[in-house]
Structure formats: C-alpha cells, structure tokens
Subunit: 262 residues, 2 copies
C-alpha cells in the first residue's frame, strides 16, 4: 500500500529509537542522544511516542509540567512544546493524568501521534529524535508509512529473550514497503560493576547479544552501556543530564553521536 508521505519542511532529520522489546532503555537512549546532539550545538526536538508508557516527562523532571499551551496560527492548531537543556520536548505524557491508563485502540493512538508530530511548534530542527513504544504496531507503521525517517537506532539488552523481539523490529525496519535505514545497535545493561568491586563485571542479562545482532544484520554495534544504580537513580529523579557524569556512559554516547553525525 502506498501512502503519500507528509513532509515536515522545518525538520532536517527524523531519527527513531526502537527496540521491539520493552524495558531495555529506549527512552534513556533517546533522551541521552537528544542531550548529546544539543550539546554539540544542533537544534534538537524529542518526541515521546510511547503512548502507553511515556517516560520522557519523568526523565526530564517534567511530570508536573502540566499541559502544553495550545494556540492557533492562520486557523491551524499549534501545540507549544516544553523546552529543557535547549531541547524541544513533546510527550503524550503531558496530556494524560499519570495514574490514568491510556485505554485507546489503534486508530486513536495513530491520530494522537500524527497530531503531536505535525501540530507541535518544533521550529527549525536539525534532528527530531522519536522514542517509540515496544513492539512493531500502529505507532511504527504510521511513522514509517507517513513520514520520511532518516534512520533508526535499535536498542537491546544482551539476552536472547530480548533479541527475539529485536529481530522482529529489525524485520520491520528492513521491510521493503515501510522500512527505514538502520544506523546501528546500542547494547544497554551490558554489564554491572559494583562500586565496591569496580574490577568485577556481572553479566546479568547475558553477554554478546549486541555483537550477534551486529554480525547477523551487518549493522554496527554503536555502543555498549553498562547498568548501575546511579543511572536508575538519575533517570528516576529526572536528572537524565547527570548520567554523563559516568565515564562509561559518556563514552558510549560520544560513540553514538559520532555515528549519527556520520
């Protein structure tokens, strides 16, 4: 099926962060990438398209930010995004009560996504990073069918049971009718080193998954990100910008940004 794509003239590149598997750290990677690109001087937007589990408001300590303002320009609805660390941020999470389930069927989800993407006042952007939900459903289909996607970053944890789902996400991205270019793979929660025993590495979620995917699909393993209590803590407390204080994390995101720029 051929759908006429919508051109977002003011946005140079749209990059999806996807996985297939939930809970692997897509939002952390999407937020970290947006921050890193902004630090390099690019104008960056971050769209949290995980309608059933928007994490971006928490990561940026914006859970209490309330509803974004809306206005009309030349009869067109415009939503004003929030801005933090120079990033324009929009999330379905800004519109729903945190304790309220988003009990929406597919078509409703798709409409909301289109609205957030096309009616947000993004201004001129070099990069719009889109954090996508787990799975390969309505959100992904709509994004890839209706918009021009410059590239996708695949996030996985090393274990097989995550890889199973990631294979499917890659299947979607390489689909001949709706596919988008894959920039590469991020292996998250790659290992854990206790602060007390910095030389010990525990592979809680197995080992080698990112490399395996990289070889199988001939796509680069962009970075391996370890897990530790500081990352969880910074994410939970809305201090996403502090994750870079960890040398390993800083290196990982430097690698990721270089891959996106090249």
């Amino acid at each position: 099926m051929s759908v006429k794509k919508t051109v977002l003239e003011d946005i140079k590149k749209i990059i999806l962060v996807a996985s297939g598997k939930g809970g692997v750290g897509k939002s952390t990677v999407a937020a970290g990438l947006a921050l890193s690109l902004a630090k390099e001087g690019f104008s960056v937007g971050l769209l949290d398209a995980d309608v059933f589990g928007p994490s971006v408001p928490t990561l940026f300590q914006m859970s209490d930010a309330g509803r974004p303002d809306g206005t009309q320009i030349n009869g067109k609805n415009i939503i004003l995004p929030f801005e933090k660390f120079g990033i324009k941020i929009m999330s379905i999470g800004f519109f729903v009560d945190p304790s309220q389930a988003v009990i929406w069927r597919g078509p409703m989800v798709t409409n909301v996504l289109r609205q957030l993407l096309t009616e947000t006042d993004w201004g001129k952007l070099d990069y719009l990073i889109i954090d996508t939900p787990p799975g390969t459903g309505d959100i992904h289909i709509t994004l890839m069918q209706e918009f021009y996607i410059s590239g996708a970053i695949i996030v996985t944890t090393p274990q097989k049971i995550a890889l199973d789902d990631v294979h499917r996400a890659i299947g979607m991205l390489t689909d001949s009718s709706i596919g988008a270019p894959i920039i590469g793979i991020i292996e998250n929660m790659a290992w854990f080193s206790p602060t007390k025993h910095p030389d010990e590495k525990y592979f809680l979620f197995g080992q080698g998954g990112g490399e395996l995917l990289s070889k199988k699909y001939k796509t680069p393993l962009l970075a391996q990100i370890p897990i530790n209590e500081n990352i969880t803590d910074n994410c939970d407390n809305g201090n996403i910008q502090k994750i870079f204080n960890d040398k390993n994390i800083e290196i990982a995101f430097d690698q990721l940004v270089n891959s996106v720029l090249n």
Copy 2:
C-alpha cells in the same frame, strides 16, 4: 460501551499477567505461575498474548516447535496447543517466523487474539494464564471487554520509571467499565546478590516500588523476586522449570500460588 462477553465454558478461571511496562519479567512470572499451578495438580493453560514480543516459545524451548496443527470439529476450526510439563501452551510466536516482524494494526491483532483464545483446544482447564503485552492497548481492552477475567497479577520492577507505567495499568484494571480484580503485585528484579558476595544486595533498579504500589492501591505485594545470571540463563536457554532451583525464586512463586488459590 457494553459488549456481550464470550463465555469459555471449559475454563474455570482466566488470570492475566500484566504490567504496563515492558521488560519487567511478565513472561517469566506467567510461565512460573503456570508451572507452579501444574505442579499442584491443576490443569493449566498458558496463552502468550504478547503479539509483538512472544517470549513463551523461548522460555519453554519451543522456538523450533513449528506451527501447531489445526483441525475442524463440527465445522469449527480448532488449533491444537503444544503441551509441556503438563501445561497446554499457545503463542502467536508459533505462527510467525522469529525474524519476521508482526506488523499488524490493532484490529488484526484483536482478531488473532480472539482466535487463539477461542479456537485453541484447551480442554478442561482450572486456570488459563494469559501473558499480556506491555501497555494498555487493543489486547487488554479486548480481553477485558469480551471475556470474564477472574483476576490480574501486576508485575513491576522497583524503579519509578516502571511504576509510572504500572500506575496506568492499574488505572485500566480498576476502570469502571472494563476493569478486572487485581490479585496483587509482584516486584521483579528486586535486587542482585553476586554469587561471590552472597551477603551483598545491589538494588540496581531502585528499591521499594512494589511496597509503594501495594500501599497506594491497597493490594498485596505477593512476592519479591531477585535477579541473577542464572535466571536470565535459564530463561534464554528454555529451561524455565530450572528457575525454581534458586531458593529465593521457589519461595516467591510459592507465595504467588498461595495468593492465586486463596
């Protein structure tokens, strides 16, 4: 909207395992619960309704099982489930190529779910455990609107960013029009103790999330399950039955089964 519910006469109780958040171990809990109930002598079915990320075939080493056989009885289509450890097992994963993305929009997803639920030859079951996908979308709406759900088990990890999504799932389960009773909460990945340092506990995903939910919603915290390399390894290698060799895991599932039976 009032929808006439389908009665599955031969199934005494349907229990959903849900979360809102992906990657928290819903499938491990669903599979562990099914195994534990079967060990107690109940007739048990396990339906993997995570259409975009079916993990049950991997957990039970059935990824290569192929397609379940189909037949017709009195003009009705019947799918024959696989059986392992006395559990009747059905998963969307049996019907799709592991590397093939399930690129389906909502209505298609809903139809497949209905088929797996109503056309599988479950026989007479005391319990049908349904492993649901992350989120609060089409699968959940269909299950709760169209079938009688005896209860739901909520799985979470301790960190805030998981709880955000779990609040929403609880919001769905307590929704006045489609809700279902909540049996209680399982806190998974509660802590990590290295084999080398068994007295040390690392709270990789924070602490106290399960208790917080339990208090807020006045629903019991059924068990806390630690994380370690053995669990990941057993799940990845299709040895889900071996997770009970770990004393902590065995205790956690005993507690869970008791809550389900009472």
